[in-house]
Point group: C2
Chain length 193, copies 2
Amino acid sequence: MVRTSQKVARAEATTLDKRAWTDAALHTLAENGIDGVRVEILARDLGVTKGSFYWHFSDRGELLDAVLQEWRRRATLSIIDRLERTHEPAEQRLRRLLRLQFESRRAEFGSDVELSIRLWGRRDAHALAVLREVDELRLRYIRGLVEELGVSKGEAAARAILAYSYMRVSRSLIPSDNMALADECERVLLKRV
Amino acid sequence: MVRTSQKVARAEATTLDKRAWTDAALHTLAENGIDGVRVEILARDLGVTKGSFYWHFSDRGELLDAVLQEWRRRATLSIIDRLERTHEPAEQRLRRLLRLQFESRRAEFGSDVELSIRLWGRRDAHALAVLREVDELRLRYIRGLVEELGVSKGEAAARAILAYSYMRVSRSLIPSDNMALADECERVLLKRV
């Protein structure tokens, strides 16, 4: 993963921007956890001097905050935005969400980033606050979709938790050659049993 | 966490056994991840010499295997065993499982250990194999309970995945003062809506 951003970044080393640093940090985070995200190592991977980092960030803390905000944008806001722009019925948008973990080529990278952030959140209050906000945003969005299916508010809150729990972990529980099982899970979640 | 095992272990330092090393390793794993589990650091925490480690283990790899086996025993086998000995109806055993994450005082420690093992499993084939076996054991047990409720095999497989996903992550999604929401989730999972 880092190799790709290295290549891209080296080609434009002179104009290396904030985004390239954030991308490289996200990849390192996914692979090595938060302790692996160090300015000198990122600079080496990007083929630039450590000093150029300070054109964009005042310190490592500012980079880590950019990483959290970028993760929040990519893994939540832009997904919701994309779904909303389809103007599809709620059931179809929910189905797309429930399939995301199986179909997106970036799902594995995304789940590595997220696992690293959850681990980081166990000992960092800021990371934990962003995690909680993201969980809250996702749950609220899913709950709204379930309510649109005509389910009572109380049951929708419960179904949203079940749907989101499923989205978080079932990729490792359902073999990729058994999508019939994923279908069945979706039927139960969408109350179509 | 390590402090408690330190105290216990120091009191019986002369008879320090295999179990004390495995316990200390589990606590360090929960707090610092697999890279934190180092023989010299455990020895220091336990107040014994590094050499005494080799009375019980041939190397760090053997300790790590003992850690995985102990986790498998505590977090899966002994829970199933305890449930089975109640001879309660399947629905009651399922409810107990679904509440475990909220009620057990050890749930937080258990979830820290498990998160660390899942992270470890991303780059260690043996840890991954034990994780997969544990997931399989738990899913099979839950599926059996759901089938006892009188649900078809296909639907039981799906409900088991939803119940297990819920057990894995919902503790962070349901505030401890909103057990009515947990009740509602259980009702949906147990098909009592």
